[in-house]
Amino acid sequence: MMGLLNILKKLRSNPDKELRLLLLGLDNAGKTTLLKQLASEDVNHVTPTAGFNIKSVLSNGFKLNVWDIGGQRKIRPYWRNYFENTDILIYVVDCSDHQRLEETGQELAELLEDDKLRGVPLLVYANKQDLASALPASEIAQHLGLHLIRDRTWQIQACVATDGTGVKEGMEWVCKNIPAKK
């Protein structure tokens, strides 16, 4: 009990250890499932996100405030409202959704061009690797043109958000690549 209180106090006195993570991607990419997985919550009762969800998660000594914004087309214009002060951008891709690879690539390209997200490290979760039709992470990286990114550090992580495979590895990368606060 005391231990937890101490950790919480430390977190409060150390704002450098509090991070803002922005979770974006098309609808049905698996953002909310990922968020629930991060918070160790049940992933079997997920509903489509109207608006957004936010959760605070303790990970590797960091307090991560994770913002999960709905991915449907109607909501995408509001993504920009959440860019400010983002420490890490997490982009989730449904690797089995071949038809919308181009669409997801375009959305990501737009994000990377935005001023408010300039230099923000990017983690791409290549999700749904458990499905037979899923493309491997390397091919997704190619489709998204990740190798052409020069203005920020980035990483692609294969994962299965529903059972947690690969999720931890991604978060470890996040905690190692936190930009120095201004």
């Binding site: 609808d27 049905n28 509903t47 489509p48 109207a50 449907q72 109607k74």
Partner: protein, 313 residues
């Protein structure tokens, strides 16, 4: 925390004495006192359930286990009520030394409570099963329901194709609703369909709100989130107030659908009244709405119904 534990331990020891004392002074057992003293509906049925679940009498425990078993075997349906409940009630009457000739009204009221309690438990299983059934676009039955939903909500415009942007008109996310049901499975679709079928005026009224240029929202997606709320309220027992206060119905899937319709209608009202700046306020307003519903459900006297008159204005 400690005080609370102490109290529950004390209660555990004191309960038999209090019950014995009341029994001696009132000449009635606890179940009788509840059935005679508490208002019919949620108050009475919840207290009967509590009394049965707390009982340390072997025979009562066996009756509870037997009825749970019947629910598990999916046999707790009105057709079998007499066969199932008569022996159970008989055991309780014998154990509690109640003369059914003197206490006829007790038997009637107690039977109603048992029907409600175990119909609710049976409903929880049925709803869970529907939720776990994933929407499957290769299943003709599922597909028919989806198309039916369209024709009920948008009777004047036929769908141009099975996969089309038109679905967004009724608030699905993309060209194909099949991925939108997610963790709510078939339950989400059945809920939407019931609302459109049984309350055509109310649902089209709500749909028209969802298309409002300023306060619009995504009808189907919000509907699926309402399904999730209704599901959790059912699972954690909060919905008992609603279900047990429904005088004409026992808890069953249709009553769950009605509960959903009520929630959808009320949410829509709150949403419009809140004058939200945009859909991003959904989470906040939805939470506020859930809190308001939980407060209402916490009062056993609450009665819920859709105020349909509003629809005609």
């Amino acid at each position: 925390m400690i005080v609370f534990n102490l109290w529950s331990v004390l209660q555990w020891y004191l309960r038999p004495f209090i019950k014995w004392f009341l029994r001696k002074t009132t000449k009635l057992c606890e179940l009788q006192r509840i059935c005679y003293g508490d208002k019919p509906g949620a108050e009475r049925t919840r207290n009967v359930e509590k009394s049965l679940m707390q009982s340390r009498t072997r025979d009562v425990k066996e009756v509870v286990a037997y009825l749970d078993g019947v629910v598990y075997e999916k046999r707790f349906i009105p057709r079998y009520f007499r066969d199932i409940l008569d022996p159970s009630i008989g055991i309780i009457l014998r154990v509690k030394k109640i003369n059914p000739k003197l206490h006829g009204t007790f038997v009637v009221s107690f039977r109603r409570c048992l029907e409600q309690i175990w119909s609710y438990r049976s409903l929880v299983d049925q709803v869970e099963q529907l939720r776990q059934t994933q929407f499957d676009s290769t299943n003709d039955d599922h597909e028919d329901k989806l198309l039916q939903l369209w024709s009920l909500l948008v009777p004047d415009t036929p769908l141009e194709a099975r996969v089309t942007k038109q679905w967004q008109h009724i608030g699905f996310q993309g060209d194909d609703p099949k991925t939108d049901f997610r963790g709510m499975g078939l339950l989400g679709l059945e809920n939407l369909l019931y609302f459109a079928t049984e309350y055509p005026q109310v649902s089209s009224h709500v749909l028209s709100h969802s298309l409002h240029p300023r306060y619009g929202y995504t009808y189907a997606i919000v509907g699926i989130n309402i399904t999730s709320m209704a599901y959790y309220l059912l699972k954690d027992g909060s919905a008992k107030t609603y279900m047990f206060n429904a005088k004409q119905y026992l808890p069953n899937v249709n009553l769950f659908h009605k509960f959903y319709c009520y929630l959808f209608y009320e949410f829509d009202k709150m949403w419009i009244e809140s004058k939200p700046a945009n859909i991003m306020e959904f989470s906040d307003i939805f939470k506020k709405f859930e809190n308001a519903v939980r407060i209402e459900l916490a009062d056993p006297a609450s009665v819920f119904r859709i105020n349909v008159e509003v629809d005609n204005v």
